[in-house]
Subunit: 325 residues, 2 copies
């Protein structure tokens, strides 16, 4: 099943069911007004949404209309939780190597995760509005899941059963604000502005064999100013799978329905697969030549993040332009 949220001028938008080919959609009003409402009572609501989905896929849908990603908010325009892991430890190691810092061995066994702001997400086609280029504007292409309720102390196996939806994320980062902020020891606040999400969120079964072992086994495509710069396999080099990330988060507290958990920047050890964030490319340049060559994003730059399965877009594309606020 594929779900999206129509931009209607309200804070939470309206829940839509979207056909598998992303061509048509139908409002879910009468079943659940918003995606959060559906997640709050998933067992009861999901089968009703699925009935619409089947109808749309058969070319039906009494009140269907053309699906337009540009009219989408993030599937959850605001959420009660956004916790972002760093599951591609290769990326972490590279970043640290570039600044001459060793990586603690524990990073291979204990997931890095930060709590992000979740009150103001961007839709897939919304402009990324920021005040200063000098902040070092970077994209970060990621995969993310949305959970049902996960009880405190849940194991990874238990957490696996609580994954309801998957989507893509652009976890925009302000690289030049990060060193000073992280040095304070309390994590990211100012250096992580609003995160953007793909037009649709999909149930795991939509991925077929590509959803295996709690990972998505498809390449994640990042196209910066029209040039494909990254196509790493999201299922490769992911040291912690989504169930492990969720279990990490749930160690000492309940994780409630509608929580979004991110994979961190998707990154393969094979550098030929390119990059999902500019910082990684700059690290490679620094290790190779002593200084970074590729600049961060400028106002006017575009970024497109997408995942294809047999040439077909699974989640629709995040396609944004950076603009001055």
């Amino acid at each position: 099943m594929k779900l999206a949220t129509l931009k209607d001028g309200t804070r939470d938008g309206q829940l839509m069911v979207v056909s598998r080919d992303l061509k048509t959609a139908q409002l879910a009003d009468g079943i659940a007004r918003t995606l959060q409402h559906a997640l709050d009572d998933w067992t009861f609501i999901a089968p009703q949404l699925d009935a619409i989905y089947q109808e749309l896929n058969r070319g039906g849908g009494r009140r269907s209309f053309d699906f337009e990603p540009g009219n989408c908010m993030a599937p959850l325009p605001r959420a009660y939780q956004w916790a972002d892991g760093s599951a591609y430890v290769n990326h972490v190691e590279l970043v640290r190597k570039a600044r001459g810092a060793d990586m603690p061995a524990s990073f291979w066994e204990d997931p890095l995760m930060y709590q992000g702001g979740s009150d103001d997400f961007l839709g897939p086609a919304d402009d990324i509005r920021l005040m200063h280029e000098e902040w070092g504007i970077d994209f970060e292409a990621e995969v993310a899941v949305i959970t049902d309720d996960v009880p405190m102390g849940a194991t990874a196996d238990q957490a696996h059963q609580c994954i309801r939806l998957l989507m893509l994320a652009n976890d925009v980062s302000l690289r030049n604000l990060i060193p000073e902020e992280l040095a304070k020891g309390f994590g990211f606040v100012q250096s992580k502005p609003s995160t953007s999400f793909s037009p649709v969120a999909v149930t795991p079964d939509e991925l077929g064999d590509a959803w295996k072992g709690g990972k998505v086994h498809l390449p994640l495509l990042s196209t910066w100013n029209g040039k494909l710069v990254g196509k790493p396999q999201a299922g490769v080099d992911m040291v912690f799978n989504f169930p492990q990330l969720i279990a990490h988060l749930a160690k000492s507290r309940n994780v409630r329905a509608g929580s979004i958990i991110g994979s961190g920047t998707v990154s393969n050890k094979d550098a030929k697969r390119g990059y999902s964030c500019i910082a990684e490319q700059r690290c490679l340049e620094m290790i190779a030549g002593g200084e970074p060559v590729t600049p961060y994003m400028a106002f006017g730059d575009t970024i497109r993040i997408e995942m294809l399965d047999d040439g077909k877009s699974v989640f629709g594309a995040i396609a944004q332009t950076v603009k001055q606020a």
Copy 2:
């Protein structure tokens, strides 16, 4: 105006208006079902709630009933943002001194703040259920504000105008999980379980002269196992006021209605005022005698956090028991 949320078995509860003396309450159904709904459209909703409030204070209220803090959820049982500052820098300095670390001078000018989990708050009388005493269970008594929408880049003066409500918080901390987690550099995830809030949230005008300069000028009382252990003045030694904390958060992103911003553990330089968290007392003991004497909380321990104005409870009391999950 004083507002609270009735525990009704749903995830968000029902909004109530509570009389100034905390004796009676009336449901706000027909006006706004939840506090978040009220905050989403505050200018339109607040005057309607205030009409009920005036009626309750006159001893009226057609459908009023006895107010029972034990039936309350947190005013916002889940929120889109919980960002907690460390505005009482004295507390930060003390904690660092105890472990032999200097404090960077910048900590006096640039607020420390962490992004907390906001999907699963506890009500004022809910048990604090945790799995292991060995995690080092500690209370943290704080003041918190709830904002309206705050635009990105807002100044402190602009942020000041966006403060809608105030409440008390118990930002429970797992002290023995903190050192390892903070060493990873990404802030708190496992070491900050669910936060609890006072029964009622109040508009700033309820505080009269005690709300001045973006600070609350009243003592915050912490009573641990029936013994008053802290009564620091919340308006003293608060290095960053709430408007400054909000402006810090809004530097690179919009802060949306219903965001909760905390003061951090209230702490006075005058040690005779006692403590708002056990860690601070242990730091003093370590500085004085080389080792901490006071243990952290045990299962069965109780904690009561309250603020009185002329002997009357402003927010009602947080009164919780720690239990094994």
